[in-house]
Amino acid sequence: MYFVLKIKNIKIILIVLGLLLLAVGGYLLFKQQQSTLPSIFEGRVLMDTEIDLTLYGLDTKRLNTAKIGGFQLVENIDKLSNALLEDPLPGSIAWLNSSPETTNIAVDPDVLAQISVAKEYYLPSNREYNIGLLKLSSLFKQSALEDRLPTTEEINTIIAESNLDQVTIDLEQQTISRPLGTYFDLGSTGKGYSADRLYDYLLTQKSVQGALINAGGTIKVLGLKGSKEEDAIFKIGLQSPDAKQEIIGTVSLTDNQSLATSGDYYRYYTIKGQNFSHILSGTEGFPKTYFKSVSICTSSALNADILSTVLYLIPQEDGQKLLESLPFKAEALWITSEGKILKTPGFEIQFKELNKLEGGYFYEEK
């Protein structure tokens, strides 16, 4: 009798245990299915950087078609925006740069859109942000190869030759006039422009319910990842300029928001052991050293891309004033070369424990 009872106890325990395990298993399975929508991902090397596309939607076959169309779009913009392309397409930036004409040169709408928006920032940046300085980048590239500093004369000659004031754009005729010697460089606009165009294209694709567009660090977000409330939020980690594997904080983006960062750590020229940021000053040539990085959050990725470069080149107070003068809302976060973090009140970020990070960061509230 005692023996039977013991077995019965074991039986009950086993049944309870079995049911419990089944319940846990079932719950996990349920959770997996119920969470975010199916997604597809692909990264490609384009525009001299990496373009990542993550698309969310139920029909992954159609998502793939949308993805392929998206990459085709960027490939086209790449061909038109690459200033160093040999054998350039008519209307492309490389074609414009090599044109012997000076007035009313017909260029592709994709190229003109980038130049016209970028040019708007030339004067507000006190001529620091100049997209006509391709030759200056080439000079620094060449100097790095030869391991010698560019001379003031070399720099001044290039800056004097490239006067954006004398560039005029006719948006109706899709033409541009520019003095010979102005060589355009769309390095600061191509990624943002591509992200905006991708966004517009993906909006027309019914299969795409959500998307994360990452064009070489310029990020734009579309729609939703799933049906839950938090699926409307895409969390982006802001990398530390001093240690890429560390994150300073996370920024939450929702539909039609973009985030771009310009810094001294991503691309630079090394001359005589010293690193020079690839973001060059339009007045002095040598890069400005106010900041380690500047991040911009706004709706248009093109404006985010450009503004992060512009604000990197001018003092923080000037940048703040520039933001306030804009006809649209844009928020900024600056990390000074000493590691001080400043931001506009509207720039929402969840900071990490900054004192635990390499680089001596500290946040100063204004």
């Binding site: 245990l17 846990v24 994360l212 990842k225 969390k235 982006i236």
Partner: protein, 120 residues
């Protein structure tokens, strides 16, 4: 207690155990590193197996190391070796990119701390 009752209970217990094991395994063991050159996937590596391996594709040759569920490039021919200096990557949101050689190493699986959608 009847014999078939015991059998039934044992089967139930074994099934539950297997189910749990399945979940534990799928949560853990599915991290892979994907290596691509010029937008073509050339190899997939299981991050749970430590290995040092050289891949060659056309004129690009790179040596990678998998250790402690992370991966890095040890050797590659490029001007600045930024990709080598970057060291190990571990989460799905990290990536090693060698632009001169158009090499991308990315990680697939679910081991993303804090559920970040991206980094910049």
């Amino acid at each position: 207690m009847k014999k078939n009752e015991i059998v039934f209970l044992l089967v139930l217990a074994v099934l539950s155990g297997l189910l749990l094991l399945f979940f534990l395994l799928t949560n853990n063991a599915s991290t892979k590193a994907i290596i691509s050159i010029d937008n073509q996937e050339i190899a997939t590596l299981d991050l749970n197996k430590n290995i040092i391996k050289t891949f060659t594709d056309g004129h690009v040759s790179l040596k990678v190391e998998v250790k402690n569920k992370s991966i890095r490039i040890i050797e590659i021919d490029c001007p600045n070796h930024l990709c080598v200096k970057q060291g190990f990557i571990q989460t799905t949101k990290e990536k090693i990119v060698c632009l001169p050689n158009k090499v991308i190493i990315s990680i697939e699986g679910k081991n993303n701390e804090e559920n970040l959608d991206g980094v910049q």
